[in-house]
């Protein structure tokens, strides 16, 4: 179906209206300023189902009333939406819907923003003739720990069920029983556990599905909405904070089809509670005691200056462009080259892959003939992209191909999928590039998989979603570039989207925050380390080395909460939450978006950009910048391909810099022959490939969606925090005589941690996976080990 359809003219209540051919009447009517009431209709959920019957209209030439949600417009169509017959039917539908509805609006969370209330007032008969007892259910019951369901309020519009079946594809929600006894539930009453379930609360047109975190906290008329962007992951979904009494009460989607399609993951939706947490750091501290701003900034400046260039700055992945930019300027002024972000990717390694000409927009996924997901599992690293890819497969019949170390959530919907061993991404991609290109057919262990996958990809219409962790292997980025060339990634609608580890990984890199590889903490190079919203002890791959490095340096930590890393800092500066922040972030597809403060900062917390400006002054780097907007201006003046950007241009929906004129100034990557990146020192993966095959299983690690501080700091989400699990292929488990669920000690080079065993069918034998960033027993305790040994705990217990 082409998006540009010829317009047709229809007559709607006597007025000529133009609408695209094939548009549904209910949408076409909006063009004529006619509202047709709907409950079940929601195009985002797929084709119309025509269940609620609220949108019945009269179409000339058709004897029965028709549902406007499912009737496509035709040229010359004559439609009536307010005839006696239609009004009678609308009255009837409202009356039917209220026959079993409890009408408990005064105590219902939805009251005041309820489509059922609005439609009953606007299109209903105003009274009910029902005098019999209503249907009763036990209520409200927990559909999950996050969502409560009141089945008496439910009007059975199917929206939540369709979301579960056709958008998230978790297929857990079902309509059970039938007729007037129908109700929404799960098989065997099990809790609905799925990462996108919060969306059903937004979708519910009545108060049947309510948020555990919002229930009875506010009435809609007491709330104010405040639009911003969620920076808890690279999806950067557009959100609308509901604020009451200067406190965030909930997070709603602020539909931006170019970014999120109006969906949110549960982390983004329920991750707001930490913002008003009592545990936040609200005062600057030096040596564990209150120091006041001047005291803390002076101390910090003194530590930084005193290090004589032996300074490292670690910029956390959710920092804004402004924060990253200022941090870079400070550290450069101190004469240190060391800046790194959480994802630790060298700018040079990915420069070629970020070239505007081969960049894809998120919405290109909707029309791509094929999609290659490589080296990432969007569900964990960029959840909303998972839904977007599912949509492409379901709605546009895109061929999906997945290649990864670890099984992904998208495998089930893929046409082909392939597994390579941890650390073998480069080899795999080299084989794929050879297969796709003119090169002679590849040989070796990946040849067969590469051929299988390449056969599904359509040059000129493929979007490649790649995990930026691949760039840890220099040869992998080079091979990916060759794949991009062979797939004609510069064609309209095709291209690459890199999924960074950090929420603003791309933006930070583009303002200069990844000029160097991750500092090697072992080298004892640093006398001062500035942690900007980063917790290396938890999040970076080599935990023990970072502990040593932080112990050996003066540490300045800017953080919202105390954590293992801040405990080693002698200057601690409070950080603002993302909902308090003003600034910009850059989406993985190059879209700059604005963060706007929704709530005031608690205690003495100051904006981080301001802290950095003041810190700069104190170390002798005068910037003269006085507002977040001025910092952006400075970025725009400094970074050629962002030239001229302003808050106004970014606006409410953001702007993709690769589509702007200034993108032409993006440095062209060096020609192919010299594209190989020289590394200062071998990266972990390179070392891994060089090292001979040790005994044991090859270890891969991944960031689970729920592993991290956000899960633990938000009461609503706490139940989702994972404990350490080691995943094994069935063959390995059998060989080692280990059963699923068993507890084992995972060890490597004298370090070890404890984990529970999970056996995964789709895994490649010989590999094992651990979760990064768990509260305890995090994978980084093994110090970036390449292979591990397993020992079952407690014999026979």
């Amino acid at each position: 179906m082409s998006p540009e359809r010829e317009p047709v003219t229809l007559v709607l209540d006597g007025v000529e209206v133009r609408a695209p051919d094939g548009a549904m009447l209910v949408d076409a009517a909006k063009g004529g300023d006619v509202e047709i009431p709907v409950f079940c209709y929601e195009p985002k959920l797929g084709p119309p189902v025509g269940a609620c019957r609220m949108c019945l209209v009269e179409v000339e030439g058709i004897p029965k009333l028709q549902t406007a949600c499912s009737t496509p417009v035709r040229d010359g169509m004559v439609v009536y939406t307010r005839t006696d017959r239609v009004i009678e039917a609308q009255n009837a539908m409202v009356e039917f819907l209220l026959v079993n509805h409890p009408l408990d609006c005064p105590v219902c969370d939805k009251g005041g923003e309820c489509p059922l209330q609005d439609i009953a007032m606007g299109w209903g008969p105003g009274r009910s003739r029902m005098s019999d007892p209503k249907r009763h259910f036990r209520k409200p019951v927990a559909l999950s720990p996050l969502v409560r369901i009141d089945r008496e309020r439910c009007i059975l519009c199917y929206r939540c069920v369709r979301f579960s079946q056709e958008v998230a594809e978790d297929e857990q929600l079902q309509l059970l029983q039938r007729g007037a006894s129908s109700y929404v539930g799960t098989f065997d009453d099990r809790p609905y556990i799925a990462p996108f379930q919060g969306n059903i609360i937004d979708l519910c047109p009545v108060g049947a599905l309510t948020s555990e975190a919002y229930r009875f906290r506010a009435r809609p008329w007491e709330n104010e909405g405040s639009g911003s962007v969620c920076t808890l992951c690279p999806s950067q979904c557009n959100v609308n904070f509901t604020v009451r009494d200067e406190r965030i009460q909930r997070v709603l989607a602020r539909d931006n089809p170019a970014v999120d399609d109006g969906w949110l993951c549960d982390k983004g939706r329920f991750g707001f509670q930490m913002i008003s947490s009592e545990e936040r750091i609200t005062e600057p501290q030096v040596g564990g005691s209150r120091a006041g701003w001047d005291g803390a900034l002076d101390a910090a400046a003194e530590r930084l200056r005193g290090a004589g260039g032996r300074v490292a700055v670690v910029v956390g992945g959710s920092s804004s462009n402004e924060e990253g930019y200022l941090a870079r300027r400070i550290v450069r002024s101190l004469g240190s080259p060391m800046i790194s972000t959480t994802d630790g990717i060298e700018a040079g390694a990915v420069a070629g892959l970020a070239t505007p000409g081969i960049a894809a927009a998120t919405s290109d996924l909707d029309r791509a003939e094929s999609i290659l997901v490589i080296g990432t599992d969007p569900l964990h690293s960029m959840p909303i992209l998972d839904l977007r890819i599912r949509k492409a497969v379901r709605r546009s019949n895109a061929r999906l191909v997945v290649a990864s170390e670890r099984p992904t959530a998208l495998d089930g919907g893929s046409t082909e999928s392939a597994r390579y061993a941890p650390g073998q991404a480069a080899a795999f991609m080299a084989a794929l590039a050879a297969e796709l290109g003119e090169d002679p057919a590849p040989q070796g262990p990946h040849a067969e998989d590469a051929a299988r996958i390449a056969g599904e990809l359509r040059p000129g219409s493929t979007v490649v979603v790649w995990g930026e962790r691949l760039a840890g292997e220099a040869a992998a980025t080079e091979a990916l570039l060759r794949c991009a060339e062979a797939l004609d990634a510069s064609a309209e609608g095709a291209g690459l989207i890199g999924v960074p580890d950090g929420a603003n990984g791309r933006g930070l890199r583009e303002v200069g925050c990844a000029g160097s590889p991750l500092p090697d903490p072992e080298a004892d190079e640093f006398d001062a380390i500035l942690l900007l919203g980063a917790d290396p002890l938890r999040d970076f791959s080599d935990g023990p080395a970072w502990r040593k490095a932080l112990n050996g340096a003066r540490v300045i930590a800017v953080s919202m909460f105390e954590n293992e890393s801040t405990k080693l800092a002698d200057v601690v500066i409070p950080a603002e939450a993302y909902a308090e922040k003003e600034g910009t972030v850059t989406h993985p597809d190059g879209r700059l978006q604005r963060l706007r403060p929704a709530v005031p900062r608690p205690g003495q917390v100051r904006p981080v950009w301001q802290v950095l400006v003041e810190l700069g002054e104190r170390v002798g780097h005068e910037t003269g910048l006085g507002s977040a907007a001025e910092v952006l201006e400075a970025i725009a003046a400094d970074v050629p391909f962002l030239a001229g950007l302003t808050h106004e241009e970014i606006g409410a929906k953001g702007v993709r810099w690769p589509e702007r004129e200034a993108a032409k100034t993006f440095p062209t990557p060096p020609p192919s022959a010299e594209r190989r990146i020289t590394m200062d020192r071998p990266t972990k993966s390179a070392a891994r490939q060089a090292g001979g095959a040790e005994e044991g299983l090859r270890l891969g690690t991944y960031r689970d969606l729920w592993a991290g501080e956000v899960t633990e700091r938000n009461a609503a989400l706490r139940f989702l925090a994972p404990t350490q699990v080691i995943e094994l292929a069935p063959a390995d488990a059998e060989r080692l005589g280990i059963a699923g669920g068993e507890r084992v000690t995972v060890s490597s080079n004298g370090t070890s941690l404890s984990a529970r065993v999970a056996i995964r069918a789709r895994m490649r034998p010989g590999a094992a996976f651990l979760i990064e960033g768990t509260a305890e027993e995090g994978a980084n305790l093994l110090g970036g080990a390449e292979t591990v040994q397993l020992t079952p705990d407690g014999g026979g217990g």
Partner: protein, 422 residues
């Protein structure tokens, strides 16, 4: 006394007819031989259209025309035989399948060949488990004998027959709900369009026909469309197996030529109500057809005459109520069935059937007021024509007709009357 006209029922009581040998001895599968041999698939379709055969499942749509809606050309197409016979009062398909399964199988293969379907699914209601077993055996025989399978009688055409047992829901007899159920989903009707002929089972073009409709095909192919048109009336050609039940002396299935007066069926064949009683009301086409009165028994039993009288021939199931039957109780019982079977997908059916039952229960308990009768009638009107499928109408039409035609019986039960009487 009128006689039956037996085409489908011609050898129905022949011992061993369910086996392929007996069926063939009596001329079975000759139509299929003709269809694969001397007749071109295009001509086959034409002859179905020419016969004027109308669907025997309830809607009475032209079978040939429906077949012609399927797109031509190479693609995965399907035939579904609707053997979910669930309409109260209907038990004709049961006898047709139980006693003569090969007639249905032959019809299925002919229809599949006519439209180019490679798979024919017989969706049979789960309660007919014995018949399903019997069909399985018959299908195996047909496959073995080459009448079905990868190469039907050496024609190069493939028609695989699969018997699928339903799980017991009236709604699965609705053609699109049947498709969902067959696909392994909850049996709920789909929005139309797209019609199954364009996008049906697994998204492919699908022809869905009732058992009796398909059982007609071997006879049409054997004798020609022209021959078929000699039976019945102008718009209702052929014969019809009528299931007669209720207050009659000889309930059962009777195959009649369409167009004979209904009275001949009810009185002539089924023996009428027990001695000394009179017919009060009768459903001409299953419990979803609006009831007719005694006087209307003289109408010719055809699709058009029943429609003109405000009812329908439906599945051809005549249910007779005599003077001993309380119409308000009959209405309640009818409504309860549809309330129980409503799938719940669309608002008017789900809520309307449920509400109607509650109101009729109050009528039966003498707790209703005159206003309630107005509401009952109005609710039926609000249901009719506004639902996703016809299940809601299937309750609203007969209940509405009962309130309208037998209002005095309802009035007698009203609260005020009860109070006055006391």
């Amino acid at each position: 006394m009128s006689a039956e006209t037996r085409l489908l029922f011609r050898n129905i009581d022949e011992p061993g007819l369910a086996g392929i040998d007996t069926y063939r001895r009596l001329g079975g599968y000759r139509a299929l031989e003709r269809a694969t041999g001397e007749i071109e698939p295009g001509d086959l379709l034409e002859s179905l259209e020419g016969s004027g055969l109308r669907g025997r499942g309830g809607a009475g749509f032209s079978m040939g025309k429906k077949s012609s809606f399927l797109p031509r050309g190479e693609m995965e197409k399907y035939l579904c035989c609707n053997a979910d016979e669930s309409e109260p009062g209907t038990f004709k398909d049961r006898e047709l399948m139980q006693k003569n399964p090969h007639q249905l199988i032959e019809g299925c293969v002919i229809a599949a060949l006519a439209v180019g379907a490679t798979y024919a699914f017989i969706f049979i209601r789960g309660e007919y488990w014995e018949i399903a077993d019997l069909l399985d055996r018959a299908v195996a025989e047909a496959h073995e004998a080459g009448f079905a399978g990868s190469d039907v009688l050496g024609s190069g055409c493939r028609v695989e027959i699969v018997v699928h047992r339903g799980a017991g829901a009236y709604i699965c007899g609705e053609e699109t709900a049947l498709l969902d159920s067959l696909e392994g989903k909850r049996g709920n009707p789909r929005l139309k369009p797209p019609f199954p002929a364009i996008q049906g089972l697994y998204g492919g073009p699908t022809l869905i026909n009732n058992v009796e409709t398909l059982a007609n095909l071997p006879h049409i192919v054997n004798n020609g469309a022209e021959w078929f048109t000699q039976f019945g009336s102008e718009q209702s050609l052929g014969t019809k197996v009528v299931s007669v039940s209720g207050c009659v002396q000889r309930p059962g299935n009777y195959e009649i030529e369409l167009g004979i007066p209904a009275r001949e069926i009810v009185y002539g064949l089924a023996g009428g109500p027990p001695e000394g009683r009179r017919v009060k009301a009768w459903f001409p086409g299953g419990s979803s057809a609006p009831v007719l009165t005694e006087a209307e028994l003289d109408l010719p039993y055809t699709f058009e005459a029943m429609a003109e009288a405000g009812s329908m021939l439906g599945s051809g199931a005549i249910i007779v109520a005599d003077e001993t039957v309380s119409i308000p109780e009959l209405a309640l019982r009818t409504a309860r069935f549809y309330q129980h079977e409503s799938c719940g997908k669309c608002t008017p059916c789900r809520e309307g059937t449920n509400w109607t039952v509650k109101m009729l229960e109050r009528v039966a308990n003498r707790e209703a007021t005159p206003m309630d009768l107005e509401i009952i009638s109005s609710v039926q009107e609000n249901i009719i024509g506004n639902c996703l499928c016809v299940l809601g109408d299937a309750m609203a039409m007969p209940v509405g007709s009962m309130v309208a035609k037998f209002r005095s019986e309802f009035d007698e039960l009203l609260e005020r009357q009860a109070v006055l009487a006391a």
